[in-house]
């Protein structure tokens, strides 16, 4: 019987020692986890990235400080850039209308009262075709002796 008691005592001591070692192991793991930020990984998996952002928030102090620009300077810069704005074309053709160009001495097609004649509207400005003439090909029409 005394032998049994002695064995039980040994077993009890060993259990206590085991529990103590487990505690030590847990503490060491915790320290290592903190050092390696592995706790963040488990937090991230369990609670999302908000936790990571909160943990690293102090580093935001290293982020650049931004301030409002003096309104006078901002207005001057905005005005300068606005003055530099250019036209934006959608591409494709400009569609500038053109009509047939007569040869020297050929009878002109428009009749009396058309643009440019006395008492009529003025000729169209540069770059705009005469609306009284039907749009034709850019190429002059050859006829009679003019044909090469």
């Amino acid at each position: 019987m005394p032998e049994d008691e002695s064995e039980n005592k040994n077993i009890g001591e060993m259990r206590e020692r085991l529990a103590e070692l487990e505690r030590e192991n847990r503490d060491i793991k915790g320290v290592i986890s903190q050092i390696a930020h592995a706790n963040l990984l488990s937090d991230t998996l369990q609670r999302g990235f908000e936790c990571v952002v909160a943990e690293l928030q102090p580093l935001r102090d290293l982020a650049p400080k931004r301030a409002s620009v003096d309104p006078r300077i901002a207005d001057a810069a905005a005005g300068m850039l606005k003055a530099m704005e250019g036209v934006v074309l959608p591409g494709g053709s400009l569609g500038i209308p053109e009509v047939n160009v007569p040869f020297i001495g050929q009878p002109r097609e428009p009749v009396d009262g058309c643009a440019g004649r006395p008492g009529a509207a003025a000729l169209p400005p540069a770059g705009q075709a005469n609306p009284d003439q039907a749009p034709l090909s850019n190429q002059q029409r050859y006829s009679k002796g003019n044909r090469p």
Binding site: L56, P64, R66, V69, A76, L89
Partner: protein
Amino acid sequence: MIRQLANRIALANPTGEPTPAGAAIAAAARVLTADPLDLILHMEQVWNTALPWGPGNGPPAGRARAFLAAQGDFSGFPPASGEVAWDHLGYSYVLENTRAVQIFRRVVRAYRSGESLGIPSVATQRWLDATEALLFSAANPFSAWLSTSTVRRESEAVRRNAYWRLFGLDLAFGTDDNRPPAYDKAEAANTSFVRLFEELLYELWRAMSNVRNIAGENQADDDRIFRLTEELAEVLRSRRQTALLSREELAAATVLGWIELALSADTPVVLDMRAQATAASDRLQLIGQRVGMAAHSKAASFFSMAQELSTFLRFIESGAVGGPQFSWQLYLQQPPVGTTGVAIGNDTRRVITEWAAATGKDLKLNPRPIAVQARPPAPAADRRLVAAARYVN
């Protein structure tokens, strides 16, 4: 000057076009078929309105010149008083690097000396008149730009001189017949421009890549951005004292703006040259093929960044970034919440991308590579180990 004029006409929409796109097309057509004298008069108006010497020193134009300028077809579309309504010299520099001016010189020569390119339409003949006057100093009732004379005859040489002084850069090519260019190379030139500019672009890219960084260290170095911006502004302003180079800048912006507008759509000259395409660089390549002169291989990048580079350089030169706390204006796309200012991040991003493409330098990597010292040759045994390791790997 040209694209700004077209924009002002499009905004006024004198022909009552139903859509903004229609108004833009009508405005571009009106400018491209304009009488060259009207364009020259408007340029005088823009120059006079800008008050380049400040309001205290009065406008540059005398009574007669101001009166004549007011008679032009575009006198109803002036910029506001004091506005610099033309692009920065950087815009002209990158566009001229496409070789467009020399290509159009051949186009004009071919059309004026024969019919090898076909019969030009009326609109193209109007365009040729203006191109000869604007680009190649054809005689006009009064001197067009006051930037060429018997002392400095070639407008291209005047522009090369301005590029050299402001950027310390020459164009990527020589003369039309590939001889070295001859121009007055000023002693005072900003030869440090490229180094500062590329380092600033690198820092701005680092800042951009950290804009959405919500956790951890933000690598945007606003203080360095500010210092580089400040130095770049000082360098540029050192060539601009008492509005030096402004007249040359306006003349160059007008010439290159004219070319950009002519290539920005299937305009009459593009149609007559049978160079229809969807991009300005492609149109230029096709026209270049027709006249036997290749455009720059990076022309697409030059066209893509011209306007943004103009905005970027003008902004830097204005001194709007007056401290590290204002550096965000250069790399954010809009002001941060609760702050006011002008954010040109979109323009900066385009400049970084296209400048890198045009120069072949990866600005998104560190521009200052680590210095590597040459190591002594390894002993024979080590060499065998190295060879074995290579084989294993």
